[in-house]
C-alpha cells in the first residue's frame, strides 16, 4: 500500500508537498485537530448540562419542600396522631407507621414474586411462548395507571373481604412493584456472562443451584437496585390506596382494618381548606421523600457491604 495515500488531503485542499510519514503540522491535520478539540469540548459541555438538567428538579423539589415543610416539623409530628380541626398540634405518626406496614406487606408479596418471575424469564423461559407472554404482560402492567391497580385490588380484595384493609393496600402496591422488579431482574440476569453459568454447570452444580448461587448472586447489585426503585415508586403512591387502605385518623396496627398512609394523609390535608393542615401536608411530603431516600440508601449500603465479602 502506498503510505502517502493515507495522508492525502481531501480533493480541493492544497497542503503543499506530501511527506512520507505523518506530518503533524500539515494544514489538513491542523484543521482537523481544531475541529476535534471543538467537538470534544462541545460534547463534554452538553453532557454536563444534561446531568444538571437531570439533577436540578430533584434538588429544586427537595429545597422547596424544606422551605415549605421544615418549620412545621417537630416532635409532635412524629409522635402524635392527627388533631381535630381547630386544635393545634397533632401529627402524622399513625400515617408514617401505616405507610411502613403497607409497604412491608407490598415488599413481602411483590419482591419474591417479581424476582422469581424475572428468574423464569432469564434462566428457564428462553425462547418459550409462556416467557414471551409473561414479558409482554409485565410491560403492559408497568404502564397501567395506578388508580386502575387500586380498582383491581378493590374488587379482588376489598369486595371479597367486605371492608377496606392494610392488606388490600399492600396487595395493590405489590401488584405495581412486580412488573418493574421482574423486568429489572431479567435484564440484570441477562448481563451475567454465560461463561460463568457454564463454569458452575461444568463443576456438576445442578441448574437450580447455579441460578441461585451464581447467576442471582452475580446480578444481585442490579436486582437490589431494581427492587429499591420499585419500592421508592410505590412508596409515594396515593391513588391505589384511596379505596384499599382507605386511611384513618387513629393508631391501627391491624392488617385487616383500614390503615393510614403518608401519601393518603398528605392528599387529604392538601385538599382541605385549613392552613394548619396545609402546613402539615408540606411537612408530610418532606418526611415522605426523606424516608424514601434514607431507606433506599440504607439498603444499598447494606447490600454493598454484603457484596464486599466475596469480591475484592
Amino acid at each position: 500500500m502506498n503510505t502517502s495515500a493515507l495522508h492525502t488531503p481531501p480533493p480541493g485542499r492544497d497542503d503543499g508537498p506530501l511527506h512520507p510519514g505523518l506530518n503533524m503540522n500539515s494544514r489538513w491535520i491542523r484543521i482537523n485537530r481544531a475541529r476535534r478539540y471543538a467537538a470534544n469540548h462541545l460534547v463534554t459541555v452538553l453532557a454536563i448540562a444534561s446531568t444538571v438538567v437531570v439533577i436540578l428538579p430533584l434538588i429544586a423539589i427537595l429545597a422547596y419542600l424544606l422551605f415549605m415543610g421544615a418549620h412545621s416539623l417537630n416532635l409532635n409530628f412524629f409522635t402524635k396522631i392527627p388533631a381535630p380541626v381547630g386544635e393545634q398540634g397533632g401529627g402524622m405518626a399513625n400515617a408514617i407507621a401505616g405507610s411502613g406496614i403497607v409497604l412491608a406487606i407490598a415488599s413481602v408479596l411483590g419482591i419474591p414474586i417479581g424476582i422469581a418471575a424475572g428468574v423464569y424469564l432469564a434462566e428457564f423461559g428462553r425462547g418459550r411462548m409462556l416467557a414471551a407472554a409473561v414479558r409482554f404482560t409485565a410491560d403492559v402492567l408497568n404502564g397501567v395507571p395506578s388508580i386502575v391497580m387500586g380498582i383491581a385490588a378493590y374488587s379482588l380484595v376489598v369486595v371479597k373481604q367486605g371492608h377496606f384493609s392494610a392488606l388490600a393496600g399492600g396487595v395493590a402496591l405489590a401488584v405495581m412493584m412486580v412488573p418493574t422488579i421482574t423486568r429489572t431482574t431479567e435484564e440484570m440476569l441477562a448481563t451475567v456472562p454465560n461463561a460463568i453459568r457454564e463454569a458452575a454447570l461444568g463443576l456438576g452444580v445442578p441448574k437450580w443451584r447455579t441460578v441461585l448461587s451464581v447467576s442471582l448472586k452475580t446480578a444481585s447489585p442490579g436486582i437490589i437496585t431494581g427492587c429499591m426503585l420499585a419500592f421508592a415508586r410505590v412508596a409515594g403512591e396515593t391513588a391505589p390506596l384511596l379505596f384499599t387502605a382507605f386511611g384513618n385518623q387513629f393508631w391501627s396496627f391491624k392488617l385487616n382494618e383500614p390503615i393510614a398512609a403518608l401519601p393518603l394523609q398528605i392528599y387529604v390535608y392538601a385538599i382541605s381548606p385549613y392552613d394548619e393542615w396545609h402546613r402539615l401536608a408540606w411537612a408530610g411530603s418532606l418526611v415522605l421523600i426523606v424516608l424514601i431516600m434514607v431507606s433506599v440508601t440504607l439498603v444499598r449500603i447494606y447490600a454493598a457491604r454484603g457484596m464486599m465479602k466475596g469480591a475484592s
Partner: protein, 252 residues
C-alpha cells in the same frame, strides 16, 4: 486416577446443523489427547459432548455411546453426576466474580453442599498447588476476588477449581488461547504434570502446543474425525492427505 473414554457412533446437532458425524475413538486413560482442526470443525462440540455440556443449549442434541470406566454417560448417569467426574476448563478464564480466590476453588464442593471446613481448606491448598498457583495467592486467598487476578492466574485458578472436585477426566477447550506466551507455557507445564493423574483432552489451535503436551492427536474436519494416532505419527507421517495439508499449513 483417570479413566479411559470410549466413544462409539457419536453424533451431535445444533438445530439442523449436524456438527459431529459418527465419531469413533478410544482415548486412553492418564494420557493427554490433543484435538486439532480448523475453526468450526466440531472439536469443541466433541469435548462438550464428553461431559454433556453440549445439551445445556436448548437447540442442541447428541446421540451415541460415550463410555467412561465402563458406564455409558448418556444412558447410565445424570449430567450432573458426569460433570462431577469430568472437569472442564474453558477458552476464557471464567472465575465467579462475586467469590474470593478460596471460594472460587472450593465452589465445586461448596455449591454441591459440602461444608467441612478442614477438608475444604486442604482441598483448596492441594488444588492450588497442583495448578501451580499456591505460592502466588496463598496470602490473599480470602481477601482478593478471583476476578482480580491476572488472566494467566485466573486460568490456573479455573484449573484448580476443576481439580478440586477430584475429577477423573479433564477437558480443556483452548485453555491458553486467551493468554500471553509466559502464561501459556505455565499452563502447558501444568498439563504435562497433570496427565499422570488425569485423562486430559485438550482442544488447541496451536500445533506446537499439541506436539508438546499430547501423546495422541485427533484431527477434525467438517464434523468428522479424519485421523487419530500418536502425536508423533500425525505430525511426521499422517495417513490422510487432508491431515497433511492441514498440519503443513496448506489450508485452515
Amino acid at each position: 486416577m483417570g479413566v479411559g473414554i470410549d466413544v462409539e457412533h457419536l453424533n451431535a446437532w445444533y438445530g439442523q446443523t449436524h456438527t459431529l458425524q459418527d465419531i469413533n475413538v478410544k482415548l486412553p486413560a492418564n494420557h493427554a489427547t490433543a484435538l486439532i482442526g480448523p475453526s468450526g470443525c466440531g472439536k469443541s462440540t466433541f469435548v462438550r459432548c464428553l461431559n454433556r455440556m453440549h445439551e445445556t443449549n436448548p437447540i442442541a442434541r447428541a446421540t451415541g455411546v460415550v463410555k467412561m470406566g465402563g458406564i455409558d454417560i448418556y444412558k447410565d448417569a445424570e449430567p450432573v453426576q458426569i460433570r462431577r467426574r469430568v472437569g472442564m476448563v474453558f477458552q476464557r478464564p471464567n472465575p465467579f466474580p462475586t467469590m474470593s480466590i478460596y471460594d472460587n476453588v472450593a465452589s465445586g464442593l461448596k455449591l454441591n453442599g459440602f461444608r467441612n471446613k478442614k477438608v475444604l481448606d486442604e482441598t483448596v491448598e492441594r488444588s492450588l498447588k497442583s495448578a501451580a498457583l499456591w505460592e502466588e495467592v496463598k496470602d490473599d486467598l480470602k481477601k482478593k476476588s478471583g476476578a482480580s487476578l491476572s488472566g494467566g492466574q485466573q486460568q490456573r485458578m479455573c484449573i484448580a477449581r476443576a481439580l478440586a472436585v477430584d475429577p477423573e477426566v479433564l477437558l480443556m477447550d483452548e485453555p491458553a488461547s486467551a493468554l500471553d506466551p509466559v502464561s501459556t507455557s505455565k499452563i502447558e507445564d501444568l498439563i504435562f504434570q497433570l496427565k499422570s493423574q488425569y485423562t486430559i483432552v485438550i482442544v488447541t489451535h496451536n500445533m506446537q502446543q499439541a506436539a508438546r503436551v499430547a501423546e495422541n492427536t485427533g484431527f477434525f474436519l467438517n464434523g468428522k474425525m479424519v485421523e487419530f494416532d500418536s502425536t508423533h505419527k500425525i505430525f511426521t507421517n499422517p495417513k490422510d492427505k487432508r491431515t497433511e495439508d492441514y498440519i503443513t499449513g496448506r489450508f485452515g
